[in-house]
Amino acid sequence: MKKVELINFQKSYDQRTQVLKGIDVIIEPGEFFVLVGPSGCGKSTMLRMIAGLESISGGDLFLGDKKANHLTPSQRDLSMVFQNYALYPHLTVEENITFGLHVKKIFKKEQKMRCEEAGEMLGLTDYMKRKPKELSGGQRQRVALARAIVTHAPLCLMDEPLSNLDAKLRARMRSEIRQIQRKLGLTMIYVTHDQTEAMTMADRMMILNGGEVQQIGKPMDIYNEPKNTFVASFMGAPPMNLIHAKVKGSSLVVDEQWLIPMSESIRAAAQLNEVTIGVRPEHIQLANDDEPGFVVVVSNVEVLGTETLITFNIGDKKQWIARWSGQWNLRIEQPLRIFIEDQHLCLFDAQTGGKLDGSQDSSFLNKEWITI
C-alpha cells in the first residue's frame, strides 16, 4: 500500500502544447483509482508520468512520502500492465512472469514461489511452459497481471488493460482484477476510456478532458451530481439527456415549445439568459393522468430484455432517450406523454457547462410544465 500524491502535475511538449494542465489529487493507500476520459484527454500520459516513462514538466509527484519526480521507473517500486500486455514473445509464461525479478535481488527459489503463487491465483498453472502466442487473449491478460503481482510492488498501474478483450471476458476480468487488488491491498491507478469500467471498478475516479480535471469522486456521486455537462454526458450509458433552454421572465423555454415556470429566487441568483437542462434517461417517466407532462413522439425503440430504451424527438433537432424497465411494445410515431420529477432536473450554465448550484433542489421550480 502506498499513497500517491500529485501536486500541480503538468505535462507540456515543446514548452507549448499543454497535455496536462496542473492536476492535484491524493490517491489513498489501497484505493482503486480510475482515470477516465475520452481518447486524447491526457489520462495515459498522466499514468506514464507516474510510472516514470514520461518526464514531468512541472509540479510534484510523491510516492509514499518520497518525492519521485526524477526516479527511474524501476526505482519507483511499482508494477504496470499495458494495453497490449507487453509479453515477451520468445519467453515462456513462466519466464515472462519472472523476467526482471533478479534486478530486485530476488533469489531463484523465491522467484519460483512467487511465480507459482501468482499463477495459481490467476489459473495459469497449466500454461507455465507455453509461449504467449499459444495463449488466448484472456490468458495473455492473466500473464500480464501475474507479472505485475509477482513484483510485490505496492502500487500497480494499468493502462486500458481490458480493451483488447471481448465484452464477456472483459466483464469477468473486471471483477477478477478488483478481487485481486482487494486481496493484495494494492494501490491501483487504472486508466480506461470506458465509463462502465470506471463506474463498476473504481473506489474513486477522476474524469479528465483536454488535460483538465473535470471531477474527482466516488462513482455514484459523480453519476448523481455531475459537476458539468461534460461529466454528465460522459458518465452513464445512455448519457444524460441535455437540452438548451432560454430564461424568459420567470420561466425556462425549451425550443419555443415548452415552458417551465421557475421560482424567482433562483433566477435572481443565476442571472443567466440561457441554461442547459439535464435529465438521466431513467428519470423520464410515463406521465400518469393526474401528473402534468408533455407530449413527445417516439422515433425508435430498443427492447433490451429487462429494460427498454425509447428515443424520442424533443424540440426540432434534439433526440432524448428514456430508459424504462420491462419490455415496452411501442409503435414508432406513437405520441407519449412524459413526466420528469423536479428533483431529477439538473441545470447547467449554458455557456460554461458548469452546474448551477441548487438546481438539484427543486424548490425553485414550479410544479407544472406547460405545453405551449
Partner: protein, 311 residues
C-alpha cells in the same frame, strides 16, 4: 491569472542529482550503441573519401604521398587523356548494355516465378542461383565459355554455320561479352528483390480484377507494374550503382583490354593506383565516380518522393 502564476519552469526547478540510467542521458547511451558504426564509417569511409578528394588535388609521388598542390590539374589532365575518354565511354556503354537488359530479364523471370504453379519453389531457387555465385567463379566459367577454340559460344556459332568470334580479344565484341556475363551474374539478386516486391502486392487487388474479368495484360499494366514501381525503381538504382562499380569480371576476363575497350572506371582506378602508381590520376577518377553515384542516388531520393507510386 492563477494559471500564469503557477506556470512551470520545467527544466530549472529540479536539480536533485537523481538522474540515472533510463531517463538520464539517452544521448550518451545512444552514442555508445552507435559508436562502433560511427568509428568504422569514419575510418573506412568518410576519412578515405575526404582523403581521396584531397589527393585528387595534389601531385602525388609513387609512394602515395602528396607533393605539391596542383588544384584541378589532375582533372584537366584526365579529361585530355584519350585513355580516360575511352574509359568513360566504356563505362557508359557498359552501363547501357547491362542495366536495361538485366532489369527486363529479371522482371520477366520474377513475373514467371510469381505464378502459382506446382514446383514453383524449385524454379525460384534456380532463378536466384547466381546470387550465390562469386564474381571470380562466374568469370572463370564465362572465360571458358568464351574460349575461341573450345568454348560453347563459338561451338554454337559454328553449329549454325556462322564464323567464329574472338569474344574477349576483339575490341568490337569484348565489352559486350563482359556485359553479357555481368547480366547473368546480377540477375539472381535483381530477381530476388523483384520477386519480393511482387509478393508484397495485395492479392485482393488481383481478386477484384478477376471479378471485373480483365485480361492478364491489363492486370500487368494496371496493377502489377504500378504497384511494383517502388521496387523497380530501387533495383534500377542499385543496378546502376553496381554497374558503375564493376571490377572483378574485367580483371579476370579482359584486364581492361583489348585496346582499353573494357577499361571501365573502377578498373582504371585500380590500374592507375596499384599498377601505374599514379595515385593523383586514380584519385581524380575516384572523385568523378563518387559524383556519378551521388547524382544517381540524389536523383533516386528526388524521384522517389514524386513519381513512384507507394501504397
Amino acid at each position: 491569472m492563477n494559471l500564469a502564476q503557477r506556470e512551470p519552469s520545467p527544466f530549472k526547478t529540479y536539480d536533485e542529482p537523481e538522474r540515472r540510467r533510463w531517463m538520464s542521458s539517452p544521448f550518451l547511451a545512444g552514442m555508445l550503441f552507435l559508436l562502433p558504426s560511427l568509428v568504422l564509417f569514419g575510418v573506412f569511409l568518410f576519412y578515405p573519401m575526404m582523403r581521396t578528394i584531397y589527393l585528387s588535388l595534389y601531385l602525388i609521388d609513387t609512394q602515395g604521398e602528396p607533393l605539391v598542390f596542383v588544384g584541378v590539374e589532375n582533372f584537366i589532365n584526365l579529361f585530355q587523356s584519350s585513355s580516360f575518354q575511352t574509359s568513360a565511354k566504356a563505362t557508359g556503354l557498359f552501363v547501357l548494355y547491362t542495366v536495361p537488359i538485366g532489369l527486363i530479364l529479371a522482371l520477366v523471370l520474377a513475373l514467371l516465378a510469381n505464378e502459382k504453379v506446382k514446383g514453383i519453389g524449385f524454379f525460384r531457387t534456380m532463378f536466384s542461383s547466381t546470387m550465390g555465385m562469386s564474381v571470380a567463379a562466374s568469370s572463370v566459367i564465362w572465360m571458358f565459355m568464351y574460349n575461341p577454340s573450345i568454348g560453347i559460344m563459338n561451338r554454337l556459332l559454328s553449329g549454325i554455320g556462322m564464323s567464329e568470334v574472338q569474344w574477349l580479344l576483339d575490341p568490337q565484341f569484348a565489352l559486350m561479352s563482359v556485359a553479357a556475363a555481368t547480366i547473368w551474374m546480377n540477375t539472381g539478386f535483381t530477381f530476388l528483390i523483384l520477386l519480393g516486391g511482387l509478393q508484397n502486392i495485395d492479392q485482393q487487388l488481383y481478386e477484384s480484377a478477376r471479378v471485373a474479368g480483365v485480361s492478364d495484360w491489363y492486370k500487368l499494366r494496371k496493377i502489377t507494374l504500378p504497384m511494383l514501381s517502388p521496387t523497380l525503381f530501387f533495383v534500377t538504382v542499385v543496378s546502376l550503382i553496381n554497374s558503375f562499380q564493376t571490377f572483378g569480371q574485367i580483371d579476370i576476363l579482359t584486364k581492361g583490354g583489348p585496346m582499353e575497350s573494357t577499361n571501365v572506371i573502377v578498373y582504371s582506378i585500380y590500374k592507375d593506383a596499384f599498377i601505374n602508381y599514379n595515385v593523383g590520376s586514380a584519385s581524380a577518377q575516384a572523385v568523378l565516380l563518387f559524383f556519378c553515384i551521388l547524382i544517381v542516388t540524389v536523383l533516386q531520393f528526388k524521384l522517389t518522393e514524386r513519381k513512384v507510386h507507394y501504397q
